[in-house]
Amino acid sequence: MRHDLELKLQAWLDGELPEREARRMGQWITRDADAAALLAQLRSVKEALPGNETARAVPDSREFYWSQIQRRIQRETLSSRPARLPWFARWQGYLLPLTGVAAVACALMAMVWHAAPPTFDEISATTDGMEAVTFHDQSGQMTVVWLQENSPPAAPAPPAQKTGGTTQETGDSDVEME
C-alpha cells in the first residue's frame, strides 16, 4: 500500500479528513482487505492507550517537593529584580542631568551678559555761553555730567547740574552715583 494512502487511512481513523474525502475513504476500506487489516491494527493501539497510562506519583514528600519549588520561585524572583545600587550611585542618576542643565543655564546667562551691548546715553545741551554733556552708563550705574563754558574764560562757571542722587564735583565734571 502506498504510504500516502496509509496516512490517509490513519487520518480517517482520527477524524482528521474532510467529510467528502472521509466518505470515499470509508468506501475504499470496505472493499480493500489490506486497508481493513491495517485499520484494525491502528485502531487497536488508538483504543488501548487512552485511560491506560500508568499512574505515577512524585517520589518526594509533599513538603520536600514544595520546598524545592518555593526555593526556585524565590531565586527566580530575586534574579529578575534589578540590583540595588549604593546611595551615591542612585543620586548620580538624578544629579548628573541636573548639573548638566545648570551648567547650560549658566553658560547661556554668561553669554547674554557679555553679549549685551553696553548702553550709553549721551545727552548734549548747549545754551548761550555753556555746554552741558551728560553721559550715562547703565552697566556701570554711573552718570557723568560735563559742564563746559563757551564764553570767555573770565566768566565764572555755573553750578553743577544735579540729576538726582549724590553729586560729586570733579573739576569740570560731576559724577553722580545712582
Binding site: 497510562e53 500508568t54 506519583a57 512524585v58 517537593y65 526556585r72 520561585i73 527566580e76
Partner: protein, 198 residues
C-alpha cells in the same frame, strides 16, 4: 500569615494564588503534582529529569498565573506548560546527540515500514493492570519522537495541527510519526504478549 486553604475549591485557590497567596499555590501543587510529574515522566522517561521538569513547570506556572484565564482547567493549563518544557528539553538533547542511522530510521519508520500487519488486536484479552504495564514498557522502547506524538495525540487528545505546532514540525511529519509509532506499538505489544504466553 496567609490563610489556610485546603477546604477551598480550585477556582478560589487559583484566584488567591493569582493575588500572590503562596499557601493557595502550594495547595494547588499538592493536588496536581502527581499528574504533572507523570506527564513529564511519560515524555522523558527519566525520574530525576521528570522531577526537575515538573518543578520547573510549577515555577513557570506561578510566574504566569496572571495569564491563566480559566478557559481550560488549571491542571490542563499546567499540563501544557510541562509538555512545552519537556519538548524544549528533548529538542536540546536531540541537538546534542549525534545524528545516527537509527535516529534517521525512526523518522521514516525503519523496520516497521517493511513489516506486515500483525495480530489485529494485540491487547485483546488482557487485564487492565497488565495492559497498563505493557503499554508502559512499550512506550519506554519508542524513540522520543514517536513516544511524544503518541502521548500528545492519545493521552492529551491534541489534533495533528496542534501537535505540529508544539513539536515545531509539519503536519505531514506528525502523521508519519504517529503512523509508525502506532505500528511499532502494535508490534511491541504483540511481542510482549507472545513473550508472556511462552
Amino acid at each position: 500569615m496567609e490563610p489556610y486553604t485546603p477546604a477551598l475549591g480550585e477556582a478560589e485557590l487559583v484566584k488567591l494564588a493569582q493575588k500572590g497567596n503562596m499557601a493557595a499555590f502550594e495547595e494547588l501543587v499538592a493536588r496536581h503534582r502527581d499528574k504533572i510529574y507523570a506527564r513529564a515522566y511519560s515524555m522523558v522517561r527519566h525520574e530525576d529529569e521528570a522531577l526537575d521538569l515538573s518543578q520547573d513547570a510549577w515555577v513557570k506556572g506561578w510566574q504566569r498565573l496572571a495569564q491563566f484565564q480559566g478557559d481550560a482547567s488549571f491542571v490542563t493549563w499546567m499540563t501544557r506548560i510541562v509538555i512545552n518544557l519537556c519538548l524544549d528539553q528533548l529538542r536540546r538533547q536531540k541537538r546534542q546527540r549525534a545524528e545516527s542511522i537509527e535516529a534517521m530510521a525512526e523518522e521514516t519508520g525503519g523496520v516497521e515500514r517493511q513489516m506486515p500487519v500483525v495480530t489485529p488486536n494485540p491487547t485483546e484479552g488482557l487485564e487492565r493492570q497488565e495492559l497498563r504495564r505493557r503499554i508502559d514498557r512499550a512506550l519506554a522502547q519508542l524513540s522520543y519522537e514517536h513516544r511524544t506524538v503518541l502521548v500528545l495525540h492519545e493521552f492529551e487528545e491534541l489534533e495533528y495541527k496542534e501537535i505540529a505546532r508544539r513539536m515545531q514540525c509539519s503536519i505531514g511529519t506528525v502523521m508519519s510519526r504517529l503512523f509508525y509509532a502506532r505500528r511499532r506499538m502494535a508490534l511491541l505489544l504483540a511481542g510482549l504478549k507472545r513473550e508472556n504466553l511462552e
